[in-house]
């Protein structure tokens, strides 16, 4: 009764069909990966400019010139948008997910290869439109990545709020469509194209994470699309969805009867699931790597699966905790607070299961493992400040301070990026057929981990001391004077950390061409991608479909010949 569309076909010839408009999920995955890599350097450069502005507000920079207060707002807007949409959403889910989800479940390709290609090129267009906002008249928008109305809904509310903001919201809308195409493709692939024996409960946790992330994306991005359309209408056709009667620069605007809260609701209805879209794939990668390099089965596989599901579901009912200070109904705030606290439970389940996996294990401290452990560390450090912000009473003093910036950068930003680094070091041999340099990887890890903590930990103290977020030029503010040494320290740490990323780039591109050749299974891992050739052939398994006999994390199985049992090994000892 089930008719899977299959893709057993010869690889395409010619550069364009093979590398540009490719239908191969592996090529598309790499395209996403390099798009995110380009985006992350743009975003990082912007953050560096912001840090420079914070401690030397009047500095004249080469190429950039002077950073005026409105420039600072433009920088933070574009930094946030590019990082959240084009890095944290793109690389872990669309990049690694595209490359490894079909291989890990034994499929020859994604369910809809053409849609997959369209999805990438739509994302690419969105990225180009987003970058175009820099060059629009008036420059990039200054309403922050959250685009709060009415600032974002009025074209005369600031220098960047003309064409720049239109391009910004158009880019977001295009990105929504791209993500929807990607998400339904991921879900269909998991539902329909699992190889024989690959039951849902035998899927690697990475696949579970990608599946739940795709479901979140499917349900969240449609709402943002609507919100964006309404914002565009407010800006260009004079409708009043988000704008009440307002006066800007002494001029009464034509809008009436709208509510800025509506934008916040619609935006955060998408925005909070988006946080989990960024972090869940990282959790999947961390689970996979901790088990592999600890040479132990993941502690509590089923609990991990249910925890991912619980995080996914709870992720949808907590968006209001971003709005405690917005004038939202206090009754809703109470409910949102409770639900937000509840999300700590599945998060803690995951954390303790990761620790349980590491407990008494013979850990192989190779670079991917270092990053996986770094992920857990950042997830815990960032997560612990979550319950503070989840309480309306505590959120009142902490809202819109550097505390929030420190919190979400640790847990959502850098933790997700550590997941990407872990994935890169782990899967690089499979993707490019060569090994990355281990020593450079370790140096990169040490600098990045310590640098990250040096940047974002002090921000918690800054926030509690009252340093606001999104304000430029507070070097002259009296009560913030004693915080300036700490601010300078953060900026220096940012310099060092960003410089350390050069090590990664050198390692990545040098290893791609000059690294030692990798074997098919260099990490002695068990999942399906390590059973095929390196790099995998066009249809992943060279014409046949693997048959799966085991769960994904059969390490140190008593009675087995080696300390791991491949998922496709029919002779291996069955643990469950």
């Amino acid at each position: 009764m089930v008719a899977q569309d299959a893709h057993a076909h010869a690889g395409p010839q010619g550069f364009i069909r093979k590398y540009v408009f490719s239908l191969d999920h592996k090529v598309i995955g790499l395209q996403y990966y390099f798009l995110a890599l380009a985006a992350v350097f743009v975003g990082m450069f912007l953050s560096l400019l912001m840090r420079i502005h914070m401690i030397w507000p009047t500095a004249i920079l080469p190429l950039v010139g002077e950073i005026r207060p409105e420039t600072y707002l433009q920088l933070l807007t574009m930094h946030g948008t590019i990082m959240v949409f084009f890095v944290l959403t793109t690389a872990p889910q669309s990049g690694f997910g595209n490359y490894f989800l079909p291989i890990q479940i034994g499929a020859p390709d994604m369910a809809f290869p053409v849609l997959n290609m369209l999805s990438f090129w739509t994302t690419f267009v969105a990225f180009v439109v987003m970058l175009a906002a820099f060059f629009a008249v008036g420059g990039a928008p200054l309403h922050g990545w959250t685009g709060y109305a009415p600032l974002s809904a009025l074209t005369n509310s600031g220098p960047g709020e003309q064409l720049g903001a239109d391009l910004w919201i158009t880019s977001i809308a295009i990105f929504c469509i791209a993500s929807l195409m990607g998400a339904l493709n991921f879900i269909t692939t998991v539902l329909d194209l699992r190889a024989k024996g690959m039951t849902m409960m035998r899927m690697p946790l990475t696949c579970w994470a990608w599946l739940i992330t795709a479901i979140l994306g499917l349900l969240a991005f449609g709402v943002l699309l609507s919100a964006g359309i309404l914002l565009l209408l407010d800006r260009n056709l004079g409708t009043s969805f988000y704008v009440p009667l307002v006066v800007v620069n002494g001029q009464v605007m034509g809008h009436k009867g709208g509510s800025p809260l509506l934008w916040q609701h619609l935006f955060w209805f998408f925005g909070h699931p988006e946080v989990y879209i960024a972090i869940l794939p990282g959790m999947g990668v961390a689970s996979q790597l901790l088990s592999t390099f600890a040479r132990k089965p993941i502690f509590g596989y089923k609990a991990m699966v249910y925890a991912i599901m619980a995080i996914g579901i709870l992720g949808f009912v907590v968006w209001g905790h971003h709005m405690f200070m917005s004038g939202m109904s206090p009754y809703s705030a109470f409910a949102f607070s409770i639900m937000t606290m509840a999300i700590g439970v599945p998060s803690a389940i995951k954390t303790f299961n990761w620790l349980g996996t590491l407990y008494k294990a013979k850990i192989r401290f190779q670079t991917p493992m270092l990053y996986a452990i770094g992920f857990v560390s950042l997830f815990v450090s960032g997560g612990l400040s979550g319950p503070f912000l989840a309480q309306p009473v505590l959120d009142i003093p902490l809202h819109d301070t550097a505390f929030v910036v420190g919190h979400f950068h640790l847990i959502m930003g850098v933790a997700a990026i550590f997941g990407m680094f872990a994935g890169t070091y782990y899967w690089f041999p499979k993707m490019f057929g060569r090994m990355m340099n281990e020593s450079l990887g370790r140096i990169h890890f040490v600098f990045t981990l310590i640098g990250t903590y040096c940047i974002f930990m002090p921000m918690h103290y800054l926030g509690m001391a009252g340093q606001p977020r999104r304000y430029s030029q507070f070097t002259e503010v009296a009560y913030l004077q004693h915080l300036m040494p700490l601010n300078r320290f953060i900026t220096y740490a940012a310099f060092v950390t960003i410089a350390a990323q050069v090590i990664f780039v050198i390692n990545l591109f040098w290893s791609m061409f000059k690294g030692p050749k990798a074997s098919d299974n260099p990490w002695e891992s068990t999942t399906l991608e390590w059973t095929t050739a390196t790099p995998p052939p066009h249809d992943n398994f060279a014409g046949h479909t693997p048959v799966v006999y085991h769960g994904p994390y059969e390490y140190s199985v008593p009675g087995a010949a080696k300390d791991y049992v491949m998922q496709t090994d029919p002779a291996g000892v069955t643990a469950h």
């Binding site: 349900l219 509510s259 209001g320 809703s332």
Partner: protein, 103 residues
């Protein structure tokens, strides 16, 4: 392409019945609204109940969800229903705008 599965027995007749029911429900909606049978809030409730029934008919018969397996029915309908119900939280703030008199 595989042959299309037609194991479930479905006559044409039932679709005409569903179509007729949808037209009758629409007529009922128009009648209720045009004669203003209820106060606005009750009217909204009545119309929404009728619309949900109509959408159930469309999803179940016309879109053949009735014939899909239980997993598909439950997962999809639950997901979308929960998400839509969640958005009702918005209304708490819409009412506050009225009560607090913010324009």
């Amino acid at each position: 392409m595989h042959t299309v599965d037609t194991h479930h027995d479905e006559g044409k007749g039932q679709y005409f019945w569903v179509w007729g029911a949808l037209l009758v429900l629409t007529a009922a909606e128009v009648g209720l609204a045009y004669n203003q049978v209820f106060q606005p809030v009750q009217m909204l409730e009545a119309l929404m109940i009728l619309s949900v029934i109509k959408s159930a008919l469309i999803i179940g018969w016309f879109m053949h969800l009735k014939y899909e397996i239980a997993a598909m029915k439950w997962v999809m309908m639950t997901a979308v229903t929960i998400c839509l119900c969640l958005m009702c939280v918005f209304f708490a703030d819409a009412f506050r705008i009225v009560h607090l008199g913010v324009k």
